[in-house]
Symmetry: C2
Subunit: 677 residues, 2 copies
């Protein structure tokens, strides 16, 4: 399987793979084609890949002979990619079927299927553990047999294990280590039919835990667009839909937010050719077949439009926004999204560090986005040893540093706001506060050290001015945790007004005599903190040294933002305007390399391709031997060989887990060093 990632967001990816019948871009939807009954040419509506049932073909002598002589593409008259199912579904419905696993594989191969499937056992949700285990053993045994039987075609192997998350993970690890090409996640239809989306999330996420990133995954039987966005965010790449036609036969219209019954409609719901040409009455007056065909066309249009919207959201880095919108359409979908909170660590693992779009807070679920978790983790990189004083200020416009003084401290409209300050019990009126650390408390990131105010997404986010209680609690918890690093604390009244009730501030003193120092940002302190936040504790000191006088800091004339830092006319690092990331140069890279112990900040590659990296050529995943587990797409990283010789540096294009698992595609966009390092 030559699966390659083009864009990433959350656990979602836009990927491509090739087959004998063309190249597929995921995520995509495979309409299910019944080998005998086809009313719609699905390729006219966006289908590049379909799924049909080899068991049904095999059972029908006429279909079987035609498929064997002319091939399955001719049989169902579809020139694109064809996957075939094996009969597992029939097995689950009728109990037993009269074909062996080996025969099914051989038959699929014989009819020219692009992607075949072994005869797994689809264990339903909520069975007894013993049943799940026994059936899983059969499924895995048949997977082994399938691999041995397969000759040329690509091969699915289905993750089973019922609703036992450990069995799902175990199964995924087992079959994930074998040479399959696509991994369907099976027997989830009952969960979707019963709206058990929280359990669906458990099943999918525990399957993902065991599956390699380098192969596409197919959420089997998921054909309703309302679940696509959530599933894609968890890492699903393929969907199949018989629903478009089954729903249509039953007068039901699919929407990305649910299902509509034609009889209840006074208006057609979308902008497709059917919805703009006909009224509900027009359709109800038609003969069944004509109506069903038109509704199926609507269902296909709306499903493919949803797939396109999802792809666009992945490219933009706004997929979780789309997921939150979609899950706002049904309480049980929302339940699924809320369950996803239990998988914060797994969601963050593959999420890019920097994105094209701002972070939009659109409700309590936004607090579970990977960016929030990532920020919490990176805050631990900061060095708290040098300072025991903290000032907490309310938000201003962003970036905070530019506006904080004018808007928050010298608020003309509310004089009281300037004068009232809360302080911690350890506050000493005689202390010198001029070098205190200053943080902003705000939704959704909780606390933002003033020096990090330009770093993505701490500057690139928006939230409503009216807070929900989860957001308030999150800010309170963040402040509580962060404050532990300090002995004396001053708190601006704006924070208390916004985030605390009266009886929640008993532990604080209050004074209107204290004058808060102005929150000016020291460039040297900013550079140090950004470096620590981005590369790990102590990185700032390693890269910038102890003496601010040695550095020449160049700023943008227009924005006043730092652009580059030089030492003796040589660039140490640049600071990227759009996301505030430090971009390494030769000196910066060497200092970071010297400071941080392997494999921290590193992608370790095979020495055989060392020269390519030195020359600035991209690093391909297949040459990556190891990588810092903290690396995410768009991080700045060091490129070293197995002896830890620094070869070059660059921008990661994948998370470290992906670099290690992929064998094709680029892992790092290398920056060519000026001199040998």
């Amino acid at each position: 399987m030559n699966f390659e990632i083009k864009y990433k967001d959350a656990r979602a990816r836009i990927g491509t793979f090739s087959t004998k019948h063309g190249k597929i871009t995921t995520p995509t939807l495979m309409p299910v084609i019944h080998p005998k009954k086809q009313t719609i040419k699905v390729k006219d509506y966006g289908a590049k890949m379909v799924i049909t049932n080899s068991y049904i073909i095999n059972k029908d002598e006429e279909l079987k002979q035609k498929a064997l002589t002319e091939g399955v593409h001719e049989l169902i008259d579809f020139p694109g990619v064809i996957a075939t199912d094996s009969g597992s579904f029939q097995l689950s419905v009728y109990g037993d079927i009269d074909i062996t696993n080996k025969e099914v594989i051989q038959f699929q191969e014989a009819i020219g299927t692009d992607i075949g499937t072994s005869l797994d056992i689809p264990t339903p949700p909520y069975v007894r553990r013993e049943q799940a285990e026994n059936e899983l053993n059969t499924t895995i045994a048949r997977a082994h047999e399938a691999i041995e039987t397969r000759e040329h075609m690509l091969l699915n192997s289905v993750v089973q294990g019922s609703t036992f998350t450990d069995l799902r993970t175990m199964c995924a690890e087992d079959i994930g280590s074998m040479n399959f090409d696509i991994f369907p996640i099976g027997a989830v239809v009952p969960l979707m039919e019963q709206y058990k989306y929280a359990d669906l999330v458990d099943v999918v996420m525990s399957s993902m835990k065991g599956l390699p990133e380098s192969k596409p995954r197919h959420l089997m039987g998921a054909g309703h667009p309302m679940v696509f966005a959530l599933a894609v965010a968890m890492g699903c790449d393929l969907f199949d839909s018989a629903a478009y036609i089954l729903y249509a036969n039953n007068n039901r219209l699919m929407m990305p937010t649910g299902t509509l019954r034609l009889e209840n409609l006074i208006e057609m719901p979308c902008s497709c050719e059917v919805c703009t040409k006909y009224t509900p009455e027009d359709l109800l007056e038609m003969e069944h077949d004509q109506r069903a065909k038109l509704l199926a066309i609507h269902n296909l249009h709306i499903s493919f439009a949803e797939i396109r919207q999802i792809k666009q959201a992945i490219k933009d880095g706004t997929l979780m926004n789309l997921v939150e919108e979609r899950c706002a359409s049904h309480p049980f979908l929302l339940d699924g999204l809320r369950r996803l909170k239990e998988y914060n660590e797994d969601m963050e693992l593959l999420n890019p560090s920097s994105k094209e779009s701002a972070f939009f807070y659109t409700g309590p679920e936004s607090l579970n986005r990977p960016e929030i978790y990532h920020h919490q983790k990176r805050l631990n990189n900061l060095n708290f040893e040098d300072n025991d004083k903290l000032i907490i200020l309310p938000h201003s416009r962003k970036p905070y540093g530019k506006h904080i003084i004018r808007e928050s401290l010298h608020n003309k409209k509310d004089e009281k706001l300037n004068k009232t300050v809360f302080f911690s019990k350890d506050y000493n009126p005689g202390s010198d506060w001029s070098n205190a650390d200053i943080i902003i408390a705000d939704v959704p990131f909780g606390i933002i050290p003033l020096e990090l105010d330009e770093f993505y997404p701490l500057a690139q986010n928006e939230s409503p001015s009216i807070h929900d209680m989860n957001a308030i609690k999150f800010v309170q918890d963040s402040l509580k945790k962060f404050s532990k690093n300090y002995e004396e604390i001053l708190i601006h009244k704006g924070i208390i007004d916004r985030f605390y009730k009266e009886d929640e501030t008993d532990f604080l003193g209050v004074s209107s005599d204290i004058i808060l120092p102005t929150g000016k940002i020291d460039d040297f302190k900013r550079l140090n903190m950004v470096a620590d936040y981005q590369f790990g504790t102590g990185s700032g000191k390693a890269i910038f040294g102890d003496d601010p006088e040695k550095l020449e800091i160049e700023k943008s004339k227009k924005t006043k933002k730092i652009r580059s830092i030089k030492e003796d006319d040589e660039i140490v690092v640049n600071m990227r305007a759009n996301d505030g990331f430090l971009i390494l140069s030769d000196i910066g890279a060497k200092r970071l390399h010297k400071h941080s112990p392997s494999p921290k900040n590193r992608v370790i590659i095979n020495g055989e391709v060392a020269e390519f990296a030195r020359k600035g050529k991209s690093v391909f995943s297949k040459f990556v031997l190891d990588a810092d587990s903290d690396i995410r797409k768009n991080d700045e990283i060091l490129i070293v060989d197995q002896d830890d010789t620094l070869l070059s540096y660059g921008k990661s294009l994948l998370s470290s887990k992906e670099m290690l698992e992929f064998n094709i595609g680029s892992a790092v966009k290398t920056r060519k060093p000026k001199n040998e390092l």
Copy 2:
């Protein structure tokens, strides 16, 4: 203006009105047509009504002559309804224009406009109060002049007042009392451009406060589909869009969730003819004019599809769900929705009591829906004098009464759940608990007396099993408030587990010796409580008397639900299966009439049409003299004349405010009494 309401939800309505050029169904969108530059035949994409600018026509000699001789419909080649703007926009941009208010009105009349507009002053948001007041005086003076000048055409009068909510209300009341036909809400474009949706909500809701319900309202300059659902929910009926073409000229695609730039697209976002035929690259390669035309067609399709979805949601009673979905697309739209909480009372005023669809909780904002407020109000109807003991149980499947015993009290899986009970400090181990009131604590309705478990929407709702903190706090507050009516309280452990943290239950005792009585519902108690909840305190006793033995209660064999209550073989009331409402009969109506003082539960009609009501004919709004201010659409009401003679009874089709303000259409669907009452 012959505006008539067909369907209602929240403050939204599907209405119709007729003009010389056809009948319009609202909500609808009026594409703005430039009298000189038309690239798209908007009627091909769903436009039944357009808006064009009489000032531009008047300024251009050629256009003017053609309009005066052939009429504006011929001039812009649109056979449907045409509204014209007056030049106020030009006034706001260029400062002064060379035409008087009177001239503008006369000119619009002369060119055959269906709906003309006076020359108001569009005062921008955030100006000084003095400016807003002065300009408002001019606007209102010109409104008077417009009314005097107008001959045949329908006439707009624009609500102004900048961002001063009291001025908006005052202006709305002033012009609302004059004989205008449509009320635009003006000068809100800057608020939308700056994403000040919370302020937009203030402006719209304060305007609504003063406007009559019986005329359509037009949110002027709102042409982006992302704001349609929220605006319609607040009571806006008409939108105008120049944006569809302006955005298209600038490579921007509208979506109901925001705006997309063509250059950033890798996929087309919707299911319309343009998005399914072309890729972003196809469009970018085209000449500007061809591309702009296609993008404008997309923008029209997506805008009209959104209008259709909104109409469907109003019909289904799910509009607030759609609003919540849409507002989950941008933090500042969410801010607008959150601000709407300040208008809970106004939102509930026009919201139907019973709807076709279940209540779906989809986030903290769902707690601000009118149904929640309505329930809080009606809980006050209950009689707490007879009982000082309360048992609080956790939720089960709905209706609670049917499942509560099996699922909550006798939970086999969790023995502890059955045994641990919390109790209030006044708890007396010797008390008799067999007749205690029993309530369920649940999201989203807070507390639900067990006897009301079939009443809409207390049975007809769904919420996620994982709660947000606003929902938890809401349940806590509801319990606290409701508990005050009782002296001794027992609380099932499930409530504590779900809604309280450990340190929040210090005021309670805990015991594992108490055995909760089984929660069986007494039919007589149920009838009494439902009647009180539906019709007001004491109604149950008035309708059903003191002696349960006198009543024959008939139940459905299948569902075991109460169907009808008879006394001496005569029906007293029926209980409707789908929403649990008591439906009056002759006896029930007479007893309720005797019990509740006028105008409680009453629609008071002109005695001239008394005979029609007696015969079961619908009551028209124009004959309604007064009505109980608590009446909402779908309430069961008494029909009386001005002497309070009971004529009949029936189902209200409007809220009482609407009955009083409308002069056409039905107000009550009368049930024909069996005998004279």
